[in-house]
Symmetry: C4
Subunit: 207 residues, 4 copies
């Protein structure tokens, strides 16, 4: 299968998952002690916070997904299956986002932010798996990666896993807000430190 | 109509349907006997289970849909209508998924998993119908399929229908969890055993 | 603006609107007199019925939208605005679908099916408006339509308006189920009787 | 990265955000004093009103987003990040739309319409930021804009900010309906008064 088709499908899934995050933006239930809309809008700040962190996270994941698949000119069944498993994690992100938004400043906030970190670790592992497959099957996928591409990418992946794990630990010992800040900062960090860019493909238009 | 346009529309529908599955991931109602978020997250396991099965199922259906339409270079009205009917089934999948997730471990789990299997049988029949139409109208659709393509694909389609029917029976006699496992295994099976791949189209890019 | 970009955006909107219809598939509230899941699944038939009618309707609208824009090679601001107004109607379809599904067999079913018909009449008028604009501005839009294209399309548009209006009247006098059947039959009818097909565009790929 | 890929992702996000607006179309809760479906359908007018205003707003934003990115032939990381931040605002629009629809004619309507205006001001600033970046980095992005493009676009951006701010003030002093009318008129105004159109790209097809 042409890799562009798999990319287009993945792009669609990323675009929909990131947009569904808006469904988690909602006013708290009336019983939460607000009597005005203004109070409710302010009291909903955990859902705005979780929205921003998850939006940045999915957005950066989309960019990195492109960077990885941009090295590839054709996809085989194993890569499609790995990609499907990765998307299964990405599509689920609105769920822990909602749980965190609903519980961040109440009982269970630590557990919620811990679960959020767990999902991120699973997705990071999925990215790692795809990257390893692409680098080690470069011939078959038409991906002309240098032999040391894998070795040089280890620090970046390790860092992500370690920081998400640290965030999850911080969450579970009782600081869910700090954990969420860490998750957000990690997304921002990956904006600047990332996998090697692919060469532009022939025929991919100007630019 | 150019077949690529129908494919793009279908791709969009598959991508949205698979992403909407996340809306079924939600914590159980507070009345279900949990007092902590952790307990609620664990108690929601049937919705995770149903999510994974349906995600794999729609994902594999997307791949097979591509395999079928990949043989075709133009579509006519009957094929568009058959495709629309097929998509009508695929788009509905989040509904039985939700019913199964909500009832898997309660009264009515058998009926729910039976209904899920029924929807899958209908969709399988839809795939069979499109495949028969493509193979028998190869000239008109620009699909250069060998004369025995239809005969050779019969075992695969038959197996799917039989296994889904077996799952539905197992569900209705009282083992909905086993039925759901069977549905999931069938999706995994179709990853490896599938319709013949089309030749790459001229001008479809590298790969 | 290149017409293909407007088409791609419209395709996306059609694909999402048709997929969001699944959110209207849901079991009736427990208070409605069912004690088993099987009973609830059967009692939800009005939502399946409304789903099928609206799915066919949006699907056929998508095909006709393509037929119209297929005549055009570039779009101008007025056409973009007309298209936006048309999409505003199409995107709204899940709402009357939900109202009809919730009330079809209860008090207010007639009003609900009347409102459904009203939305369809407005959308039909939108299609008529775009078609008139395309035919009368063929030079500007690069649409080489014959001079009598407009006159020859009048019967088809008139029929749609008249049948939807008849359905709405039948609904309001107390037969909402019959009205919904009529709406569905009209969608099926438009599968076979439709606007003239555009010539294939140069460079649009094989077929 | 090729600018067309970023455009396709953005198009998808715009298409989904505009379509999710339909989820805010819903009948008022039964307790609001209606005893018939017809009464409920009429009483839901604030949600129709908010739907129309937000639909036009997102639709026009989509057009202007195209106008801006149409000048660019390749995108760099800063532009991707600015674009992601802009989309974060656009995707959120269904939330203030829902708040306005729920409160327009009740207590808190002023606050709700004020919040709506605030979100619009933030998004307008996002558009301004992207436009400034594109104009000042034309060489790097392959955007051959004339030197006075920035200066000449200042009035249009200023007007948007001022009118949204005026609407927000009018809302907060107690006239939310008038504020929403102003937001809607501003969307219509931008249909006719807008940024300079890009030259058609080579190879972008006929038109």
């Amino acid at each position: 299968m042409d890799s562009r088709r798999a990319e287009a499908f993945s792009d669609g899934v990323f675009a929909i998952a990131i947009t569904l995050l808006v469904l988690n933006l909602r006013l708290p239930a009336p019983t939460r002690g607000c009597s005005t809309v203004g109070c409710e809008l302010l009291a909903a700040w955990p859902s705005y916070f979780a929205y921003v962190v998850s939006f940045l996270t999915i957005g950066i994941m989309w960019m990195n997904h492109h960077t990885i698949l941009g090295h590839v000119t054709r996809v085989d069944r194993p890569l499609l299956v790995l990609n499907l498993l990765l998307l299964m994690g990405v599509v689920a992100i609105p769920f822990p986002t909602e749980v965190v938004a609903a519980h961040l400043v109440r009982d269970g906030g630590g557990t919620a932010a811990f679960a959020y970190g767990l999902v991120m670790i699973v997705i990071s592992a999925g990215f790692g798996g795809i990257w390893v497959y692409v680098v080690t099957h470069g011939d078959r996928l038409g991906a002309p990666l240098p032999p040391d591409a894998l070795r040089r990418s280890i620090p970046g992946f390790t860092l992500g896993g370690v920081v998400y794990a640290a965030g999850a630990v911080i969450a579970v010992v009782g600081f869910p807000v700090i954990a969420l800040v860490i998750y957000g900062l990690l997304a921002v960090y990956y904006l600047f430190e990332h996998l090697p860019n692919p060469e532009p493909r022939p025929g991919a238009g100007p630019g």
